[in-house]
């Protein structure tokens, strides 16, 4: 039931791009993406609702393939501030939000 994220970890140089994937075996209504810095609470990035719409802000965007029950988070021209652990969360209607195991992203100068 827990969504599966890949890769588990990625190391980038500043300016490089990355893609983080999130797959679920269950039918979904929405997918959430959050970033967590060490010792802090997770912070919301974006939510994608059923319908496959791609969303984004700044250089971070995401897509949701409803048919495949997959979502991908795209980070372009990465900055040092992008470092942290990224979690996807999958949610049906009715409130239960389950998170994946996380993807640790390190951006080096």
């Amino acid at each position: 039931q827990q969504p599966v994220q890949s890769p588990q970890a990625v190391i980038l140089r500043e300016g490089e791009d990355a893609v983080i994937n999130c797959s679920s075996s269950k039918a979904l209504y929405s997918v959430h993406w959050y970033r967590q810095k060490h010792g802090e609470a997770p912070v919301f990035l974006m939510i994608l609702l059923k319908g496959g719409e791609q969303k984004g802000h700044d250089k971070i965007s995401a897509s949701f393939n409803e048919k495949k029950q997959q979502s991908s988070l795209y980070l372009t021209a990465s900055q040092l501030s992008y470092s942290g652990t990224y979690f996807c969360g999958t949610q049906k209607l009715g409130g239960k939000l389950i998170f994946g195991q996380g993807t640790e992203l390190s951006v080096k100068p």
């Binding site: 209504y29 939510i47 979690f87 209607l93 009715g94 409130g95 998170f99």
Partner: protein, 118 residues
């Protein structure tokens, strides 16, 4: 606005003791959640609530109890604390709606409670 407030921030318990982690939100959100996060691991859902008087189990409910008597408050009770319950606990809230205009909205997290059971 304070958002989601958790107390205490830190606590050390002895094995077998009990305690309540407090969580309150001032955003009039109907959904509330409790997660635990073990070191270097992801967030595991303990319990959640879709409104006052309604609670349901998450992925790891054993050893915990919750209640939701008001929209604002969602306390988490640990009975007979065990070392396996050493973790960081996050409370979160969101707005959700079912029916013809269904929606799920983003979670707002509290700052967390670091609990050690020794």
């Amino acid at each position: 606005n304070a958002g989601v407030t958790q107390t205490p921030k830190f606590r050390i318990l002895k094995i077998g003791q009990s305690m309540t982690l407090q969580c309150t939100q001032d955003m009039n959100h109907n959904y509330m959640y409790w997660y635990r996060q073990d070191p270097g691991m992801g967030l595991k859902l303990i319990y959640y609530s879709v409104g006052a008087g309604i609670t349901d189990k998450g992925e790891v409910p054993n050893g915990y109890n919750v209640s939701r008597s008001t929209t604002e408050d969602f306390p988490l009770r640990l009975e007979l604390a065990a070392p396996s319950q050493t973790s960081v606990y996050f409370c979160a809230s969101s707005y959700g709606r079912t029916g013809p205009v269904a929606t799920n909205e983003k979670l707002f997290f509290g700052s967390g409670t670091q609990l050690s059971v020794l």
